[in-house]
Amino acid sequence: VNPESIEPLQPQRLFLLVDDSPDDLVLLKRAFATVAAESTLVALESGQEAIDYLKAATQPGERRPLPIPSAILTDLKMPGIDGFDLLRWIRSLPALRNVFVSVMTGSNIEKDIIRAYELGANCFLTKQANPAEQIRQVRHLVAFIKARMSSEDLPFTSP
C-alpha cells in the first residue's frame, strides 16, 4: 500500500442518480458532465429502477452484469418507492454499506433531514435551482468522493 496516495485508485467512477423529475435529472447530468466528465453516470427515474439496478450490481459471482456505484444521489419525494425506502433498502445490504449515499431535496424539512441521516444517508444536499450553483455543488461533492475511501478502493480487495 502506498501511504502517499489519497487519490482514487479507480479512475473510472460510477454515479447513480435517482430522481422522478426528468428536468432535475437533465440538470444534474449536465452538472456531472461538466465537473466529472471521466465518470460514468446512470440516471434512473424511480426508486424501483434503482433497486433493480443495485440488485443486479450486487449479485454474487465473478461476472456482475453491472458495476456497483461509487455514490448514489437520490431525491426524497418520489412516487412508489421513495428516497427513504431506497435508503433503508441500500443500508440493509452489507455489499452496499460503503457506497456514499447523498440525499437531495428541494425542501429542507428538519424531520426529513434527521430521518435521512438516521436511515444511513452520508450527506444531505439542497437541490440548487441555479445551474452555476448546482455545478459548484456537484464539484464539491465529487472532490470529496475522490478524497474519501471505501474498502473497494483498497488495492488488495480490488478484483
Binding site: A116, Y117, L154
Partner: protein, 193 residues
C-alpha cells in the same frame, strides 16, 4: 446566532439587496433573487459558525490539522478531545467539558480511529446508539487502510472514512474539501446549541 453576531451580521447579509432596490429601482424579480441569495447566505453562515470537534491523541496531528483548516479558510470554532474518553466526556458535558456554553455540541466530528482504550470505533458506536447523536456528521480519519477498519466504520454509520493525509499539500486538499463540501454544501442533521 443573533446574540453573537449582532448588527454586523445583518448589515452583511441585507446590505446588498437593499442597495439593489434603493440605488437602481431594480426589477422585483432581481430583488427577489438577491433576497434569495441573502437567505442562502444566512444558512451558510449558520453552518460556518458551528463547532468542529477533533478527536485525536497525537498532539502534532491536531496542530497540523488546525493549520490546514486555517489555511483553507475554515472559520468555525474548533474544539479538541485528546482521546476517546474525552470525546465521550465532551458529548455528555462531563469532566472538563461541563460548561456547554464553552463546549457546544459539534455539527462535525473528525474522529481518529486508532485511540488508546476507548477507540474511535467505540466513540462512533456510542454516538450511533443514541438518538441525539445519530444524525451528527462523523468523518473518520485514520492511517489504517485495512478494509476491515473501513468496513467497520461504515457499518457503524460513519459519514465518511478518509485516510490521514500524509503531506502538507494533501492535508490542505482535505481541509478544503471539508470546508467546501461538509461545511459549505451539506446540511447537518443537528444544530449545535
Amino acid at each position: 446566532l443573533l446574540d453573537s453576531h449582532g448588527p454586523t451580521f445583518f448589515w452583511l447579509t441585507f446590505w446588498q439587496p437593499i442597495k439593489m432596490v434603493e440605488g437602481n429601482q431594480a426589477r422585483m424579480g432581481v430583488f427577489r433573487q438577491r433576497l434569495g441569495q441573502g437567505c442562502r447566505r444566512i444558512c451558510a453562515l449558520n453552518i460556518m459558525n458551528q463547532t468542529i470537534l477533533i478527536v485525536e491523541d497525537e498532539e502534532s496531528d491536531v496542530l497540523l490539522m488546525r493549520l490546514a483548516m486555517k489555511k483553507a479558510g475554515v472559520g468555525n470554532p474548533i474544539q479538541v478531545a485528546a482521546n476517546g474518553k474525552e470525546a465521550l466526556d465532551y458529548f455528555q458535558g462531563t469532566g472538563k467539558f461541563s460548561r456547554r456554553a464553552d463546549f457546544p455540541l459539534p455539527s462535525l466530528v473528525l474522529l481518529d480511529l486508532k485511540l488508546p482504550d476507548v477507540t474511535g470505533l467505540d466513540v462512533l458506536k456510542w454516538m450511533r446508539e443514541r438518538l441525539h447523536f445519530k444524525p451528527m456528521i462523523v468523518i473518520m480519519l485514520s492511517s489504517s487502510k485495512e478494509p476491515r477498519d473501513v468496513q467497520a466504520a461504515y457499518r457503524w454509520g460513519a459519514n465518511a472514512y478518509v485516510a490521514k493525509p500524509p503531506s502538507v499539500e494533501k492535508r490542505l486538499v482535505l481541509a478544503q474539501a471539508i470546508k467546501d463540501f461538509w461545511l459549505g454544501q451539506n446540511i447537518p442533521g443537528n444544530d449545535s446549541e
